[in-house]
Amino acid sequence: MPEPGSNRAPETGAFFQRDRLWHPTALTPAYKSSVLRSPQKALLSFDNTLSELTGPVFGHAMLGELDNDLIHNFATPGESAIGERIIVHGRVLDERGKGVPGVLLEFWQANAGGRYRHKKDGYLAPLDPNFGGCGRTITGDDGGYAFRTVRPGPYPWPNGPNDWRPAHIHFSVFGKGFAQRLITQMYFEGDPLIWRCPIVGGISDKAAIEALIATLDMQSTIPMDALAYKFDIVLRGRRSTLFENRPEGN
């Protein structure tokens, strides 16, 4: 099967090993939910097989017209979500710096007041009748993507006696192989809550935290309409298969 929308041969090399010290470790006791939900035994390491090298790929045909517009995709026609209008855009790259086309991105977030449309969210901030909080898109030929939303509010959460999440958008990313599957969160430049958050604090390297902070991008704003934030996402890259030893039938 060729890559959708291209005649490039698909890449099939094994993925670079995950740097588990760059990611948050499984157990981060300041984030209390991790205490009973973190595996404690060593992971089983092995070089990727076809089961990890392959993965589902989704075509643009699955997307609805408003899927990348959270301001309108849940709103009553003619109305729109309340809040600071923003565009979030960027590229999905691999570790070798190449844009990755055809990547399904799904995102979800609280509304401008910091409230999620979910029966388990009991925060006092009101629901916005015109805001659902989910969207999705697929990256273009250069790995680029963009969507429109409102800036989510920060919210308190039951962890320590007074913990607040910085404003954030959750991202789910599909690469081309299932071993690239990733969920992360995007934060906003200049938010002082980032550095007080026990979930963010599970990442030990400051440079890794900074890799999750979107930059205000004045060049991409729409005057009198929306501010813009740029957020690039990096997926595991593949080793070159040039010198790989591949027995027949594999």
């Binding site: 990611h23 009973l36 595996p39 076809l50 089961s51 589902p56 449309r117 909080g133 992360t184 039938g249």
Partner: protein, 204 residues
């Protein structure tokens, strides 16, 4: 100083959090009208080739309670052992089977059900056949980086016995943590995040 290798670092993972349903299964959590249906909720149609099976999966925390807010994705080969993926170069997979599914755990019981087909065998890197298996990926509040593991089948004893991945598990008592038990057409698979029965999770 030597030259830089000039590689980027993978974006660090962050937990999917307690509201992962909003993004990945919005219809399930009452956000209707945005997407027609939840992606990955239906894996087979009338034309899909292969033996129909059901997977009943639960995920238990270190206190022995099932997670009621987790989300599980599965990825598998078709009945002939082909993946429906551009990186599958050996042949064409069943066009009526993507091989990928996504389900939330039930908010009351913690059980997660997949209606799928039994996968065929897929070759390991050296060409030997692996036993039939399904790759699992589990995310939830409290899980900082998605957990990868595999589900193998209890009625594939011979194939399991020669599987090169199962063979790598040093502590043989842990091998059964990857084997789902067949009960009729249902395979029951309990994932344990911690404790004596901790499932073998992968770094691959």
């Amino acid at each position: 100083m030597a030259q830089s290798l000039d590689r980027l670092k993978e974006s660090p993972s962050q937990t999917a959090g307690p509201y992962v349903h909003i993004g990945l299964t919005p219809n399930f959590c009452g956000i209707g009208g945005v997407y027609e249906s939840d992606l990955g909720s239906c894996m087979v149609n009338g034309e899909t080739r292969g033996e129909r099976i059901e997977l009943r999966i639960r995920v238990f925390d270190g206190a022995g309670a099932p997670l009621k807010d987790a989300l599980i994705e599965i990825w598998q080969a078709d009945a002939s052992g082909f993946y429906n993926s551009p990186a599958e170069l050996r042949g064409a997979a069943d066009p009526n089977f993507l091989g990928w599914g996504r389900q939330p755990t039930d908010m009351e019981t913690g059980a997660c059900l997949f209606q799928t087909i039994k996968p065929g065998r897929v070759p390991f890197r050296d060409g030997r056949l692996m036993a039939p298996h399904i790759t699992l990926w589990i995310v939830a509040r409290g899980i900082n980086i998605g957990l990868h593991t595999r589900l193998y089948f209890s009625d594939e004893e011979k194939a399991n016995g020669e599987d090169p991945i199962l063979a790598r598990i040093e502590h043989r008592l842990r091998v059964p943590t990857l084997i789902a038990e067949r009960q009729g057409d249902t395979y029951v698979f309990d994932v344990h995040l911690q404790g004596d029965k901790e499932t073998v999770f992968f770094d691959s």
